[in-house]
Symmetry: C2
Subunit: 228 residues, 2 copies
């Protein structure tokens, strides 16, 4: 469902160049549950942004559902991304002057064929799933760090995506709340969803079926290929 071939990403800032991904190869099948680990600055978010079609590689190919993302037109890419992917950002990326419920409804505005009433209901169910129903009217700056993170998780799940890309989804959550969220991911994976999760916490990575380790933009360990 996801295939990266020799993907390189170089950020250019004036005269400085930073190579964040270095000829990276990576394949995921439908129903996989992969944890991505690695040091701060090793390229995890850069990898997620490319997989989430939020950024383009400098070199190399990305195939989503066997279609080459690099060769797609912009609106076709946006449609595919919105229909298939749910993305949880490391910094939440919630709209500041918008309620928690409206933030969660946002991805549904781009989906065709959903009535306003269905949108509200799906958003309320998603908010209920992360135990924040009583905060539906709050704006992000009226929520704690972990509550904002859970709104971001609810937003990513509201479109019932096939592939969930989560960048450090438990970074601001206490142990008990983290377990609730990981159990949500686990049950989604059991029902056939594909999940890719960046984390620096080994007990969070333990929920995944496969672990990869990034260093300096390359995959240096992959529990799947080594069969260990």
């Amino acid at each position: 469902i996801i295939r990266l071939e020799k993907v390189t990403k170089i950020y250019k800032m004036g005269d400085i160049e930073v190579k964040a991904l270095d000829e990276l190869d990576f394949t995921m099948e439908e129903g996989d549950f992969v944890a991505v680990m690695g040091a701060s600055g090793s390229g995890k978010s850069t990898l997620m942004n490319i997989l989430g079609c939020l950024d383009l590689p400098t070199e190399g190919e990305y195939f989503l559902d066997e279609k080459s993302v690099g060769k797609m037109k912009k609106d076709e890419l946006a449609r595919l991304r919105n229909a298939k992917l749910g993305f949880i950002f490391q910094n939440f990326n919630l709209l500041p002057r918008t309620t928690a419920l409206d933030n969660i409804e946002l991805p549904l505005l781009y989906a065709s064929g959903i009535t306003r009433r269905e949108r509200h209901e799906k958003a309320r169910n998603s908010l209920e799933l992360v135990s924040l129903s009583d905060r539906h009217k709050h704006h992000p700056n009226q929520l704690s760090g972990g509550q904002q993170q859970r709104v971001a998780i609810a937003r990513a799940l509201v479109t019932d995506p096939l592939v969930i890309l989560a960048d450090e989804p438990t970074g601001n959550l206490d142990t008990a709340t983290s377990k609730d969220i990981m159990n949500i991911f686990k049950s989604l994976n059991n029902s056939g969803k594909t999940i890719l999760l960046v984390t620096h916490e080994t007990d969070i990575a333990a929920y995944a079926k496969r672990k990869i380790l990034l260093r300096d933009g390359k995959i240096i360990q992959d529990t799947q290929s080594r069969k260990n």
Copy 2:
């Protein structure tokens, strides 16, 4: 050095009220190293914001260095805060269109009697301390999540504060980088600095000498008072 007496904080949003802190009593001596834990939404950041003089309690008293913060004039409070406290925010709070180095220098602009050259040198040393010297020209959006967090840590330490308030300082850092940061805090505490650290990770809390547990705005456990 820090004393809270019956501190209550109620956020009012229209017709909704949220009691984030509930008649909380808390005392810290100079040289203490305290970890604050608790579920998402339990009031940890609210407590930090009041201790960091960034917000006022709704009820109760806060004494910093035996002076009542509630009774101080605004500029006296700002001077005391800038001279004594270093604050690391849960969401970093870096200036977006500013380099890493300039972000770190910012607190020094408010300190009297420091030359421009000393400011640069102190900022460079602080950036070196968190191993990000090669990123000094980057803006926050050109840095990874964990790198931004380390710039926020460097900024809090550049004024050599007596009291360091850190809200989830390792939330975005891998294990090795987290250890580096915790060892910096440990050596600062060994040299007499007072440290209060919010964390949801027990292995991070293990670096502290005293642990308190918040639930619904109250301290329900304190390793110091129980002598365990």
